[in-house]
Amino acid sequence: MNASSQTSGPSAAESAPPPVATAADLSAEANASASVETETKKGVPEGLWIKCPGCAEMEFKKRVEQNLMVCPRCQHHMRVSAARRIEQLLDPGSFDRFNADMAPADPLGFIDTKPYLDRIRDTQKKTGENDAMQTGYGFVKGRRVVLACMDFTFFGGSMGSVVGEKITQAIERAMEKNLPLIIVSCSGGARMQESGYSLMQMAKTSAALARFHEAGGLYISVLADPTTGGVTASFAMLGDVIFAEPKALIGFAGPRVIAQTIRQELPDGFQTSEFLLESGFVDRIVHRKDLRSEISRVIDYANK
């Protein structure tokens, strides 16, 4: 499985019995190679062709972009940045962003082989974003919503204080204005460099969703490749309705951690959207081209 080998990290299980499932083990290794496979990094000349990670065929880039970054041959859903996702989901020009200036602090003075703040600055420079999440108001086929999109290009979409706070404020605004909430998850999990602070974002966002639920709010969770670790184990799995894009990697522990723990090969299609549908943890698998209409449909059924 292509996606899994790209997103699984070495794990604690290698060195420390008993095996450890961590919310963070995917995110960091995503940091190490923080790039969306299909989008050209700044500074690299724009290619006219891209190689589909699904079928390995070369395809004309324009054509893939017009097809919402889905391979026209094999229907592989490529990863997209938050900006592109917003463009794809919302009515043109309707995005009214909030909290764009919220940026990470370095509460622990975290240094591994490089200071966390340096890594953040580099990533900010490269992506033009302050952290791994964009939130705002917008319209989906004329229906006003609050939309939160995670950005895998930024630190593997990992959740630190900024992502947690932005999600919480998005929930609060949806509650205040009685708007449907849509969160598109795409993340390696909690961000190690903020340690306990990152972990507590799981409790914070889940608690905010409990309040939203009690207020009768509608929350549609959209799971994109990959959604793992502390993000899956908090807001991503708490949607009133949960959609998943086809063949996305969705799970708690990373596939490599699991393989090392149980010391055998994982079943085919393990931790894919289809696997989750079969085990009863997502409501529908939705092709990217149908997301707007499916979201609209649910909003209408919920009378929101």
């Binding site: 604690a12 095996p19 204080s161 190690m192 522990a253 699991i258």
Partner: protein, 327 residues
């Protein structure tokens, strides 16, 4: 035979000097002429206890992790025995099965009736295997939630004891929704209309720990650890290799000790351990944990349920560290 509080069968490297002294004391005290060496023994015991205090007052974060994993460190089952009367165990999640990695049941602590919930690592090899060394499956988290709701229904305070390297990473656990089970616990615990007090008694490994630790008051034993990832996991990812050096650095960087978590406002209290750690004196540790639990519950029982839930929400709502940048 080891003397009370002596820990000769499993030795952490930094305890070696203490163990050497203990051996000398044992040697002198067990001989036929023990009386003749009374003064020497007393002097050695003083040396031992000051060395013990000194060592344990200045443990590095990585040493702390190793103390937290000490095989003789008291587990949930020990605290139940030492702290609770009339424990009435309740099994099963009524959906799939009964996970022995989380023990749940009615218990009396002092004069108080509570619902007790705790990770169990296992004492014997067979129990360790059954408990997956304290790594719970989804059915464990669902069982915990079911019993918490039971407690809420009858107005019992909830006590959770956290001691896990992390939630179990396996095929079955993924198939049965490990992430969903933990997420639901976070969601539901945030709105339980009864006091929840949590103590990290050993390992607080990431989401698997937090899954039963959304408490009105969260305490950590002095030598416990609590973090988003284990030091080895963090080292393996960020330093590309987990070894003694990188584990040390990762443990330091993760701010996983009780003191650091308290400084960062992520827990409410540090509960001191007996000299030389809980594994040297489980009874002493249980007494301290019990006193903390009872104090906190008494304090929380004076608060009405609406305020309680609101304050719990606000506590977690405030966690995070941000800066502003014109983006």
């Amino acid at each position: 035979m080891a003397r009370p509080g002596y820990s000769a069968t499993y030795v952490l490297d930094f305890e070696q000097p203490i163990i050497e002294i203990e051996k000398q004391i044992d040697h002198l005290a067990d001989g036929a002429q023990a009386d003749r060496f009374a003064n020497e023994i007393r002097a050695l015991e003083e040396t031992r206890s000051s060395l013990l205090s000194k060592t344990y007052a200045s443990l590095s974060p990585w040493q702390t992790v190793r103390v937290a994993r000490h095989p003789h460190r008291p587990q949930t089952s020990d605290y139940i025995q030492l702290m609770c009367r009339d424990f009435c165990e309740l099994h099963g999640d009524r959906r799939f099965g009964d996970d022995p990695a989380i023990i749940t049941g009615f218990a009396r602590i002092g004069s108080m009736k509570v619902m007790l919930i705790g990770h169990q690592k296992g004492k014997t090899v067979a129990e360790k295997v059954a408990c997956h060394f304290g790594c719970a499956h989804p059915e464990g988290y669902r069982k915990a939630l079911l019993k918490m709701k039971l407690a809420e229904k009858f107005g019992l305070p909830i006590v959770t004891l956290v001691d896990t390297p992390g939630a179990y990473p396996g095929v079955g656990s993924e198939q049965r929704g490990q992430a969903q089970a933990i997420a639901e616990n976070l969601f539901e615990m945030s709105r339980l209309r009864t006091p929840v007090v949590s103590v990290v008694i050993g390992e607080g490994g990431s989401g698997g720990a937090l899954g039963i630790a959304v408490g009105d008051r969260v305490g950590m034993l002095e030598h416990a650890w609590y973090s988003v990832i284990s030091p080895e996991g963090c080292a393996a990812i960020l330093w590309k290799e987990a070894n003694e050096t990188t584990n040390n650095r990762a443990a330091e960087a993760l701010a996983l000790t009780a003191r650091r978590n308290l400084e960062n406002g992520l827990i409410d209290d540090v509960i001191p351990e007996p000299p030389g750690g809980a594994h040297r004196d489980p009874r002493g540790a249980a007494d301290r944990v019990q006193a903390w639990i009872l104090d906190r519950i008494r304090e929380l029982q004076r608060i009405n349920p609406e305020t309680l839930v609101r304050q719990r929400y606000e506590k977690f709502r405030a966690m995070g560290a941000l800066s502003r940048k014109i983006g």
